[in-house]
Symmetry: C2
Amino acid sequence: MKFFEDIAIGERIALGRHTFTADDIKAFARRFDPQPFHLDEAAAARSPFRALCASGWHTAATWMRLMVEHQRAADAAMRSRGEPVAMLGPSPGFRDLKWLKPVYVGDTVDYATEVVEKRVSNSRPAWGLISIRNTGVNQAGEAVISFVSVAFVERRGGIAKEAS
Amino acid sequence: MKFFEDIAIGERIALGRHTFTADDIKAFARRFDPQPFHLDEAAAARSPFRALCASGWHTAATWMRLMVEHQRAADAAMRSRGEPVAMLGPSPGFRDLKWLKPVYVGDTVDYATEVVEKRVSNSRPAWGLISIRNTGVNQAGEAVISFVSVAFVERRGGIAKEAS
């Protein structure tokens, strides 16, 4: 993670893509969203979705997965260049999550994130708060998910100062 | 599902509870949120969370699971009384998701939902839209998660009318 000061509003990161298979969709649904249109092709065909599609929570959790993997690779690259790596703190939550289109079997969703807001935390001055708009777009170029999440990011020298 | 007309604002439903085990937390994190404080006790102890805790997406997806199970049982009860069961349509999304406290190993989260808003859909008149406020409260009575979700619910005779 870059330090809060080094993150610019408008910065955009491509997080990578994921192809949703039927097995994948059903395995998630069995554990967390066992509705017929996420579990069974025939039932899905009779539903408003018309075909098997992923739980919206699956689409969202896959964003998290790609975000963490991106962050891990970025941190490793920073370390290999001898740069200090900032701490990423807890997320207080997010807002305005929209499932814009169903994600069907075989769909490939491309995830990206863009920094839309940043401010120093009032209650925890060693940290900044950044808001990022996250999107997933399918292979037809249609947005399938969009939400804005918020995270604490360490300020340059923040934690060390706090501890001293 | 009850029909749109039979759902009252202020209606509250207890969805049941879930106890988050270390195995449970790590299994979810491995697939969707592989951050050290969700995967490893020692790393978590050094993190801002101070101990192993569940991914926020895990806490949220568990709500979905309990919601679906509740709905399924409620539908079965309606059918056994010979009552018609309304169709629950896709969810356009949700807003204002807040992770208010970490969910630690052994925490039991009690989930509930309350109807806060309802209106007929403009674009799809066979359906109504209901907004529900969802909460999870731990065994100490502290809220750990809160969000407002929106779902399409069939109006009485809505689909049949639409099809005719």
